[in-house]
Each structure stands twice: as structure tokens, then as C-alpha cells.
Symmetry: C2
Subunit: 473 residues, 2 copies
């Protein structure tokens, strides 16, 4: 329990509505999107960078731990307080003033509290968008703090690639405000400090304003479901598509039959799109798109895609078992429903892994064999980003006889799969969800002592205050 004096000072500093301390008001900030919940000492809701700075400085000087939070849509306990009740939540949800489009520069300066959906809705009339494609709807600040990737990484990259600058409150006694970058695309004038705040879950401070690169909105899109003849043919298929479509190819997503089946059973609005309703073992959702309308002499995109698939069909390797071009919205609706769909069928151990592209399907096969032996009751319901080597390796653990979650099995499973992925397949244990309490132990295990020591010194130099959920040292 935090001393009354601190609460009073922070309340005065933040003004009406700026500080929440009643349990009912704080509840929404204490619970994460899926796995985590804790207890907050308070929730501070500053409405300006200056107010963020004041809160950070006060808390730093009094050794009060702060957890920055924006959209709170993450899955690694990166933005919620722990169970001690001693940490304050620093919510960015009132940072919503600045929204400055620089059309000629294709860039946007935006406060951390704007949601992705809102950003893109406002940009649409200008024919531009922030090219991060997600099932969730995070705020700008959290996207930077977790370096979100998403389903169109293959063409547009992650938040790191699309961040041209930021305003930051460092986690120090002064709550120092620093501007990094001014929206330039080329700038090599020293240490690129903004990189430190991308993907580090607030360990170095709080991003209050972002400058994002924007891209032209796609004007035409076509999608197909591809059924590879075998798991070994997935990479052949990916290469064949890239060779024939170049930068037209904007997504190449994998969906396991197990995930699809559970989702179709759970989400009534979805139609089973497979001939005779027979869900294949593994399906690729391929998307081609272009940011212009077809000119007179140009094919429609569906025709391009059909022609390319016919060409691949006749390759000597015969990588394609089946393929059908279909309605874009419907095909993505299934893909985006998988996360919720899988969740409905049991307790989900959700792992966010990435591999070198050729290694992903080998890992998948290895796991299929290994889990059948060691965890026969567990179902692999994975899906994700074959085109960039990422996979949401979701494992569904059946409930115990008494109807409760089997947490012992879940933990053993998590431990086993991550060990094999990292140690035998060169995987990342956090591809695009960032850092948080939930993957701290893997950071501790797989980071060398040398790098931990360097990180600790960096933290000391930049942000000595107890801020963020990740311990880097």
C-alpha cells in the first residue's frame, strides 16, 4: 500500500480524472488481454507529455515502480502491474492531442494514446495507412514498446521499420523529455537512440509521441487458400510465389487444420470454405495487392493470381495439393478469428515464436512427433506468418476432470516447447509480442551474462528508475 502522501501529491499533480485509486476504476487497467492480472497502487492518466514527465520524475525520486500501459492488448504481461499492489500503472490513454499528417513526407506524428484502427480510419481519406496489420487493436505507444509485426510484415515490415522518430520521457529522476528524430528517412548522426525504446516494454522510459512512416493504401487485393501437398512443400510454394509475384505478394500466412476446425465450430458467422467441408491439415492464406487501380491493359488481380497458381500447379515438384481464389474479406475473417477460436476450446499455451523461414516447417514436424509422445492429449493449433518465419504456436491443453485448467501440464509444455525451439531450431522465444513478466525467465536463461551486464549499464545510463515490466540486467 502506497503512502497516502504520494497519492495526494500525484492526484494534485494530475488534476481531476488524472489519478484513479478506487478498485472499481482501476480494474480495467489491472487485467491484461488474456493471461495476466495484478493489483495497481494507482492508475495515473496524464494528458500531456509534460504530465507524464512529472509523474515519472516524482515516482523515480520516491522509488515508486511504474508500469506504462497504453491499449493493454499484449499477451506477455508487459503492461499490467504484478500482484504486490505496489506498482503504479502509467496509462497513456488520455494522450490523444497530436495527430499531424505530413502528406508529402508520407509520415504521421501521433500521440501514444491513439488506437491503430483510429489512426487508419483518419488516414483513409488521404489514401494512406500505417501498414501494421493485426487482429488486436493496440495504441501507438504499445505498438512501439512491443515492436508489433503482424500479417503483412512480408511486404511492410514491423513497427521498427516504420518508426521515423519519437518523443520519450526517460525513466530518470528528472523525467527528462527527449525528441529522437524528426521524421527523416535517412539520418546517421550518432547513436540511433530511438531503437532502444522499440520492443523493450518501457524499460528505458515512456514513448509519448511517435512519428510513423505511412504507405499508400492498397487499391486492389486478391486472396487464395493454398493447400501444400505436404509440409515439406510449404517453403517451395513460398519461393515459387515470391519469384512470380515479387512485391505483389503481401501476405503468406499459415493456418493449421486444427485451429481452423476449432474456429469454425466456435464462430457461427464463419462459413466452412473447403470443398465438402473437409478441412485440410495445413492451409496457406496468400494475398496479393497493389496500390493502384488496374490500367486499361492490365489484368484484374484475381486473374493474375489464378494464372500464377496454374503455373505453380504444373511445377515438377508439384508443391500444390489444392488451391482456390476466393473473397478477400471472408478469407481474412477466418484467419483473424483463429486466435479467439482456438481459445474457446480449452486452456491455450500461446507461444509467439520465429524461425529462419526454411526451419519453421521442420520445427512444426518435430513438435508434432514429440508432443504425440510426451503430451498426447495436447492439440497443436498453430497459425501465423510463414512468409516471415513467425508462428503463433498455440497448444490447447484439455481441462482437468474437475473442470479447472491443467496449469501443471501447461507450464511443463511451455518449458519443453520453448527449450526445443530455441536450443534445437534457433528460434526467437518472442517474435512480435515483446517482453513482459510472462517471458522474463526465458530472457534470463537465453541472454548471456555479458549482454545482461551491458543492458544493466545501459539501463543505468538512460533510465535508472524502476519502470516497465522487463528486467534487462
Amino acid at each position: 500500500m502506497l503512502a497516502r502522501e504520494h497519492i495526494d501529491t500525484l492526484g494534485a499533480l494530475l488534476g481531476a480524472g488524472g489519478l484513479l485509486t478506487a478498485e472499481a476504476d482501476m480494474a480495467g487497467y489491472e487485467r491484461g488481454a488474456r493471461y495476466d492480472s495484478g493489483r495497481a497502487a494507482f492508475v495515473a492518466r496524464p494528458a500531456s507529455t509534460e504530465a507524464v514527465s512529472a509523474v515519472v520524475a516524482y515516482c523515480a525520486r520516491h522509488a515508486i515502480a511504474l508500469v506504462p500501459q497504453s491499449g493493454n492488448t499484449g499477451l506477455v504481461a508487459g503492461s499490467t502491474p504484478d500482484a504486490t499492489g505496489t506498482q503504479g500503472v502509467l496509462s497513456l490513454d488520455r494522450l490523444r492531442s497530436t495527430f499531424e499528417l505530413d502528406f508529402d513526407n508520407r509520415s504521421l506524428r501521433v500521440d501514444a494514446g491513439f488506437r491503430l484502427s483510429e489512426i487508419n480510419a483518419r488516414l483513409e481519406p488521404h489514401g494512406l495507412f500505417f501498414p501494421i496489420d493485426l487482429g488486436a487493436d493496440p495504441m501507438a505507444g504499445g505498438m512501439v514498446a512491443s515492436n508489433t509485426g503482424g500479417a503483412r510484415f512480408l511486404r511492410f515490415g514491423d513497427v521498427r521499420r516504420n518508426t521515423l522518430g519519437m518523443k520519450v520521457v526517460l525513466g530518470d529522476d528528472a523525467g527528462t523529455v527527449v525528441d529522437f528524430g524528426a521524421g527523416l528517412r535517412k539520418d546517421n548522426t550518432g547513436v540511433d537512440w530511438k531503437q532502444h525504446f522499440i520492443g523493450t516494454a518501457g524499460a528505458f522510459g515512456v514513448v509519448t509521441e511517435c512519428i510513423f512512416n505511412l504507405e499508400r493504401l492498397p487499391q486492389q487485393v486478391a486472396t487464395a487458400y493454398l493447400v501444400p501437398r505436404s509440409p515439406e512443400h510449404v517453403t517451395v510454394l513460398l519461393n515459387a510465389m515470391e519469384v512470380r509475384l515479387g512485391t505483389y505478394l503481401s501476405a503468406f500466412e499459415g493456418m493449421s487444420g486444427a485451429a481452423i476446425t476449432r474456429t469454425l465450430a466456435h464462430v457461427e458467422a464463419l462459413r466452412n470454405p473447403f470443398p465438402g467441408g473437409a478441412v485440410p491439415d495445413f492451409v496457406i492464406l496468400a494475398e496479393v495487392s497493389r496500390s493502384w487501380l488496374p490500367r486499361a491493359a492490365e489484368q484484374q488481380l484475381d486473374a493474375v493470381l489464378e494464372e500464377v497458381l496454374a503455373d505453380i500447379w504444373s511445377l515438377p515438384e508439384e508443391p500444390l495439393g489444392d488451391a482456390f481464389v476466393g473473397p478477400v474479406h471472408e478469407m481474412w475473417a477466418l484467419r483473424h478469428a483463429l486466435s479467439e477460436g482456438v481459445k474457446s476450446s480449452g486452456y491455450v499455451v500461446g507461444l509467439d515464436l520465429s524461425f529462419r523461414r526454411g526451419e519453421l516447417m521442420r520445427f512444426r514436424q518435430h513438435m508434432s512427433d514429440l508432443l504425440a509422445l510426451e503430451f498426447p492429449a495436447v492439440a497443436i493449433c498453430d497459425f501465423g506468418h510463414v512468409g516471415d518465419g513467425g508462428v503463433h504456436f498455440n497448444l490447447v491443453v484439455p481441462k482437468l476432470a474437475d473442470g479447472t485448467n491443467d496449469m501443471a501440464t501447461a507450464e511443463a509444455l511451455r518449458e519443453r516447447v520453448i527449450s526445443v525451439a530455441v536450443e534445437e531450431h534457433g528460434a526467437s522465444f518472442s517474435a512480435e509480442h515483446g517482453l513482459g513478466r510472462r517471458n522474463q525467465r526465458f530472457y534470463d536463461r537465453y541472454t548471456t551474462e555479458k549482454l545482461k551486464s551491458m543492458a544493466a549499464q545501459l539501463k543505468q545510463a538512460v533510465a535508472p528508475a524502476p519502470i516497465g515490466t522487463a528486467r534487462l540486467g
Copy 2:
């Protein structure tokens, strides 16, 4: 002069051919591509990461300053020794063993001593390339250390975007060898340390091995020269092209008439491509490309480009004064000859600036007015990367009456232009050439004390040894 004992120890450590001390042998390593030359205490040429580590460790323990150097093609004195004769050059030109293509991952693990041209020649049979397009031919290590950009940044980005991992020898007493990243595209598991070695000219250590992202080779390319109706119409033209061509647009380069005229006069092999030989004030080289061959029902790319230009021609803003589609190789030959061509006509103050895209032409107009008043004898012979806001703002200073270079005017000019660019137009004073002795004073002036202090602490934590040409603290 370095103590004999050090020379003997380093010589023994490096073996035959590994250490150069004779003046004639060292000369090529002491002089830069254009502006700089100095004197080396020795040139160490280790042939493996282990040998780099041994040299770095020995020199760190004996406080011997090291300047890492690879292709030595830079323009900011980032890879040559100073005049004192006390610095050793650590050349990476024998680091040429590892060249491992991972075709499925579209990535290459390559030693720092391979040249860009060599990398791409070896990749060509696989239909892949490292998508950095330059007039110069640097080695992999130097491309990372300066975060090279180039003429196709608009589509493919810079070295930072295309670096998936690296092996580094830290500048510490142990010459600690560290691997950052293993070729994954998504990996958010802590501080992204590799970012520190990109664009910092060796201040934190020596990159000995790189893992690069590769792209599919273009299969079809078309180019046009566009003459904007006025400087204000350049940005209108850029936006109009992007809207109509999306990711087809792979370059949008600006060339001043002054640079073109000098180059045509200097390089006999070049043909004057303009109707009647009249060189316009400002010309855009626009390139469209795609990484597949045209399908049956698809237009050839020059037909696409012509159709798009016809469309833009009829816009109400009338941004286009003239335009002609022409032979790709010839159009690029002029563009790539500009750097040498401009150099031939006097002493060149070469500035490597970048701006928000809409600001670039405003700066150019401002400079044109200002220099006409303050430096009327100086000619603006700029060219560069309008599509990403970069410009090689080259200023030709006439020789003095006695035939020598007018260095006083050159220095005053450099000072004046950079001040106006940075302070009034929000420019970067080093867009894509990185850091070196030549722009140290601008780093010192435009970096805040807070960031210098953070950089000094970071340097202390990662690489306390005297290494590299940039002083970050």
C-alpha cells in the same frame, strides 16, 4: 611512433602478410576516397574474427587507438587514420571466408571483407540481390558501419533495414566476440544490440560478419527523365507517381542541370540525352521495376510508365514540363557519373543532407537565393534522392588565382550551409555517409549534452577502448 615491441607482438600474432608497417605498403590504407589522408602506425590485416579479437584486445590493453577500415570508400574520414601516426588501421580486407546463402530464408551470412559488387555477382544466379544501390563499391563491414542508403532506398530501405544479424568484436580489453541475431526477421527478446553497430563508424567495435536480408532481382525495369514544370512541382510529381505506381516505383532521383552539364562536359562516353542538347534546370530520374517477367496479358513496363506519365501530364496542377522514357542503362549511367563529373570542375564541398520530403525543394530554393548573395562564385551542383528526402548537396568552389583550392571559402560555405539546413530546415547533416572526423564538429554542436553523456556511458559499457573515428561522448 609506436614502440617496436608492440609492432613485433602484433606481427607475431597476425603472421605473414598480416601486419604492414612499410610506408609504401600502408599508403593505400592511409588515404580516403576523396577528402582525407593521414598516417598509420601500422596496418593490421587479420584474416579471421579470432584474429580481429586478438588485435583489438592487445591494442585495448595497451591503449593503442584503432581505426577499423573495410572498402575505404567513405567520404567523411570515417575509416582513415589521423595525422598523428599513432593510430593503427584495422583492415578487414582479408576477412573473406564466410559466404553462406540461405535461399529459403532469403538471407546471406557474409564476412565483412566482401565487396558489394562481388556479393551481388555471386547472388545473381540465384535470382537474389542485396538491395543497396550505390555508385561506390564498399565492403560489407563499411556498409554496416555507415548505414549506407543509396538510390533505391525508396523501395528497399537502407542497410539497417536489411541487416538481420551480425558478429561483432567489442572494443574492450578482451576483444569479446558476440553474435547478435541469427537471421530471424522477427525477434523481440531484449535490447536489439546490433542497432548500435549500424551507422556508428566502429565506435563500439568491429563488425566481422553480417547477416543480410536479400530481395528478388528485378526482372523488368523502365526509366524516364521527368522535367518538373517548376521546383514547387517536384513533390506533386512524386506523390502523383507513388499513387499511380505504388511499389513499382523503385527510384525517384533528382539531378541539377549544373551537375548534368559539368558531367556531360567531363565524361566523353556520355551522350547528351536532352532534345536539342538543352539541359533543364532540374531533372528527375524515375525508375519502375518488378521482380517478375510480364505475363501474357500484361503490359511491358515502359508502356506502363508511358501511360502513367500521360495521365500525370493531364493533371490540373500540370506538374510535368517534359518527360521521356529512355534506355535504362544510359539513364542510370548519367546519374551514376554525376559524383565524378562534378568533382572535375573545381573543389567540391560535398554535403550529404536529408530532409522531410516536402522540405527538400524549399531548402534548395532558399540556398539558391542565399548563395547567390553570399557566395556568388559558387555553383550548386546537387543531385540525390528526392524520393526519400536525401540530397548530395555539392558546391563547386572556383580555384584561387594561383591555381590552388580556396579552402577558406570552402570551409565558410560548409559551415553556412549546414547551419541553415539543420537549424532552419530540420535537416540531418549526415544522411547516409555516417560519422567520421569530417563531421565530428557538427555532431558536437547538434547533439545535446544529455545525449552525449548517455553515449559516453554506453561507450564505456560496451567498448571502452579507443576505437573508431567518431567521438560520441
